[in-house]
Amino acid sequence: MKLTTKQLTLCALLAAMALALSYLENLFPLSLAIPIPGVKLGLANIVTVFALYALGLGEACFILLARCFLGALFAGNLNALIFSLLGALSAMGAMALLSRRRGLSIYGVSIGGAAAHNCGQAAAAVLTLGSAAPLYYLPVLLAVSLLTGGLTGLASACLFQGLRHTDLMKG
């Protein structure tokens, strides 16, 4: 992966924004309404969606890894790393696949990503706790992901709409 200075700057900027968004969503504690471990808005997913389309899979992965590692470092919680990594990588994988389907809009991609994110987190919980108990929450998490995925899809759609005529989208 050879990056131009412009691309590198963009990647760094996006990683910083993703970090900021993960922090920001703590201000909207969705888990107060739905008290289930792992319930999140997943705002950082907007960055992933954008990077995937505007930059490409490699760059998007790079941003995602930077976000996960830096986030865990800031939080000082390495246990959380496996959760965010598994969740984010599952989301990335799902979105990379879904975005190849020409029929799908940004909404379908976002929702698929959000659902995959929750599956990944549930898998991480199963791994770290050594029990299948967290799977019990998965149906609810999936239902919530329809909503949160739709919301991040809407946000991404607005973003693309706004950036449509800039050279960011033309690379």
Binding site: S31, Y53, G56, L104, I111, L129, L138, P139, Q161, M169
Partner: protein, 149 residues
Amino acid sequence: MKRPLPKLRPTAWDGLVVLCVAALAVALAAFQWQGGSSQGLTAVVSIDGAEADRFALQDLLKSPRTYTASGYTLEVAAALRGDASPLDHVKSNGELGLQVAHSDCPTQDCVRIGAITRSGQSIVCLPARFILRLEGGTPDPDSVDAVLG
């Protein structure tokens, strides 16, 4: 390897994604609810992946139980379905279940999730690495079904 710009308006194919996710959720839920029962329920507590305690649900009627996990303290008490407060303070009726009544963990998800009443259900406290799970059926032929006195 860049992707062509996505469609910005929902399409019929998005509906299919939604359907698939919903179907997965329903299927998982159905799988878990199957065989869910509230008979002779046994509560199983595991801490750090190892089973720490196992007791019959009605044992909680007398007194709550306290556990220490990963530096946090959790109190498990009897509860009625849909009720957030421990049994002693509720003059009501309903399905008997259990709940984490108090926890000093930072997220409090385990407390807010409320009561569980059926086998297969569980309460997970991630910070404390604590799982409270209800198992059903006739768990142990030697366990007692009722206590006199």
